[in-house]
């Protein structure tokens, strides 16, 4: 057996794992009968269907006659930087407030660009903070902690 279509093989595997996980979790809830379904019935069978689809996708990926398909390289840098800057934003928001956590978000995420410069990033940060305060906090009146809790009290 040879993996001819790598992306399909990996997707199939992902479907099987997720399908089985959902089916197993559903089995922990009451299944009920076809006429009186418990909370586990519908998701259990959906999980099974999903795993079955995964098996079919894998079978298609190992056929020797299939058109070859290789896995692409992942852009781990941008992926990590973007997601991490959102996580940091979330961690800081409730205690440090919108303004300070925005600095972390904008500066942090800007690092992911291959054209990064400090000058442009700092100007951008300043503009976006003013924009966020005017539009989100004052105009749309969205509920945000704006300043750090130890200052605002």
């Amino acid at each position: 057996m040879k993996i001819v279509r790598q992306k399909d093989f990996a997707s199939g595997l992902l479907y099987i794992i997720l399908g089985i996980a959902f089916a197993v979790a559903s089995y922990g809830y009451r299944m009920g009968t076809a006429s009186r379904m418990g909370p586990g019935y519908f998701p259990f069978w959906l999980g099974i269907i999903m795993a079955a689809i995964g098996v079919m996708v894998i079978l298609g990926a190992v056929r020797s006659r299939a058109e070859p398909q290789r896995m692409e390289r992942w852009a781990l840098g941008p992926l990590f930087i973007i997601l991490a800057s959102v996580v940091v934003f979330g961690l800081l928001l409730d205690t440090l407030g919108l303004v300070l956590s925005l600095i972390a978000l904008v500066v942090g995420s800007s690092l992911a660009s291959h054209e990064f410069t400090w000058r442009a990033t700092l100007i951008n940060t300043l503009v976006l903070i003013v924009f966020a305060l005017v539009v989100f906090v004052y105009a749309l009146n969205l509920q945000f902690p704006v300043w750090p809790t130890f200052i605002a009290g």
Partner: protein
């Protein structure tokens, strides 16, 4: 005429200064983000939705439809000026639109797209208004079995008409359905798949999934490609088409509106299919098909009219049956539910001013779009020259503020990050994420109807075939699957023959 009475009622409730301002604001925001290449309507709508949550239902819906049309139309501007489709539905606009721009006719191409879209939008609105009543009455005959079969057909239709491998897309639907079940089971009160986290008791918010998978995913994917943009930088002088241009574009607009209106009603067909059909039709009926791809005005007018008409009629199943036909419509449905409007046959009878107000507001949104796009096109052109490195942190800011303000919850932000990673992985594995969104919104509805149907039939699965409407819907589903599978079988057989 009852139709016009209804439309009048709609305009009476929608046409206030305040609502016009919301429509305007929605169009500006939608176009602003929709113009940016790489961010499709799904990402645009999902990150802008939370900003409508604080408004009254009708105003919110009006702003929403502004955002929707702005997002759907913004891509055309990008297609014409930057040679990059802002979204899949303007892929064919690139072919002739950018060529027109290079010949110094960017203004004409833009106004053709805007006027064609507006005309098609008007046609679409009338069709939506005309269809609403009979379809709603028809929908009252539907029981749970019919709804289950209709949703199944919608889901399968959505993936069979789209591109890409069918099997993987169905897998994504199933995953979407499962994710939709996370949270408290309404029938039994049991918490499902919540890992003991109280934040998940109410289920995952659709904004979290949409922003995570589409917006975060698209930002990361755009950063990966060091794209070289070939933007039209000249000044846009002449906006008005000549009389000769008008003569060539009018029939194309009419044909495009007809195709778009028809395709838009189909579940899942979506805007891209409409514009694609319209383009090939224009090329077929043209006396000068060799001009296509070299700046033929029909090649802009037809597809642009078609995708806007489809954008309008796509609301037909969503509003009358409560069943969205595409991922974008699923988002709109989700937004309506946030405002305590459960779209479906009841809305039209129980809250007619809201229902017809929404339909009127779509027309207002369309009008705003023309007003906005022709004089303000210079601003959008400037926006296109802003480098991506400055834009994406701003987009990210919109996303974060949007996700957070749904429930003022940091947990949702972390969840969105998780879905961002997952969405990027799906992209790399060539799993189309749009069907997941559709499945996610339909998940709880499809389970509920399935359960009810089975209670009624006392556990007999044959109920889905014994009831005639349900049987027809399931038969159509089966035909769709076979139709998509057939050419694949044929190809495989050809492969096999070649090797022998």
């Amino acid at each position: 005429m009852e139709l016009f009475d209804n439309l009048m009622l709609g305009f009476a409730s929608a046409l206030t200064i305040q609502n016009l301002l919301y429509a305007f604001g929605g169009c500006v925001l939608g176009t602003l983000i929709g113009v940016l290449p790489g961010l499709g309507p799904l990402a645009t709508i999902s990150m802008l939705l939370p900003f409508t949550f604080g408004l009254e239902p009708l105003s919110a819906l009006i702003m929403l439809s502004g955002i929707y049309y702005g997002a759907a139309y913004g891509g055309s501007t990008t297609a014409i000026l930057v040679n990059l489709p802002g979204e899949t539905s303007s892929v064919v606009t690139v072919l002739d639109g950018y060529q027109m721009a290079r010949q110094g006719r960017a203004g004409v191409a833009l106004s053709t797209a805007a006027l064609g879209s507006f005309f098609a939008g008007c046609v679409g609105t009338l069709i939506l208004a005309a269809f609403a009543k009979p379809l709603t009455e028809f929908a009252f005959e539907f029981g749970p079995a019919e709804y289950f079969s209709l949703m199944t057909m919608g889901l399968v239709g959505a993936v069979s008409l789209a591109s890409g491998p069918l099997l993987k897309a169905i897998g994504m639907i199933v995953l979407g359905l499962l994710l939709g079940l996370v949270g408290t089971d309404v029938a039994s009160g049991v918490m499902r798949f919540t890992f003991g986290l109280p934040q998940l008791w109410e289920g995952i918010d659709f904004i979290v999934i949409a922003v995570g998978i589409f917006a975060f995913g698209e930002i990361i994917a755009s950063l990966e490609h060091k794209e070289i943009r070939e933007a039209y930088t000249g000044k846009i002088t002449n906006l008005w088409p000549t009389l000769a241009d008008f003569k060539r574009m009018m029939p194309a607009v009419l044909r495009g509106s007809a195709i778009g209106s028809a395709v838009g009603i189909l579940p899942g067909a979506g805007l891209s299919l409409a514009s694609f059909f319209a383009y090939s039709l224009e090329k077929k009926v043209s006396r000068t098909p060799e001009k296509f791809g070299r700046g033929a005005i029909e090649g802009v007018a037809g597809p642009e009219a078609a995708n806007n008409a489809a954008a309008q009629t796509a609301f037909v199943p969503t509003l009358t049956l409560g069943i969205p036909g595409s991922a974008t419509m699923a988002l709109m449905l989700g937004a309506m539910i946030v405002h305590n409007i459960q779209p479906g046959p009841q809305v039209m009878t129980s809250n007619p001013s809201l229902f017809w107000g929404l339909i009127a507001s779509m027309w207002i949104g369309n009008l705003m779009l023309v007003i906005l796009n022709l004089p303000l096109v210079g601003i959008w052109v400037k926006l296109l020259t802003v480098p991506f490195k400055v834009l994406y942190p701003a987009i990210l800011l919109f996303c974060c503020v949007g996700v957070y303000s749904v429930q003022n919850s940091v947990f949702d932000l972390f969840l969105a990050v998780g879905f961002g990673f997952f969405g990027y992985a799906l992209r790399k594995l060539e799993c189309e994420p749009a069907p997941l969104m559709l499945g996610f919104v339909l998940g709880p509805m499809i389970e509920e109807n399935f359960r009810r149907a089975m209670v009624l039939s006392k556990g007999d699965f044959a109920i889905f075939i014994h009831r005639p409407i349900s049987a027809v819907l399931l038969a159509v589903t089966a035909i769709l699957i076979i139709a998509v599978a057939l050419p694949a079988i044929r190809n495989k057989r050809e492969e096999a023959f070649q090797e022998d």
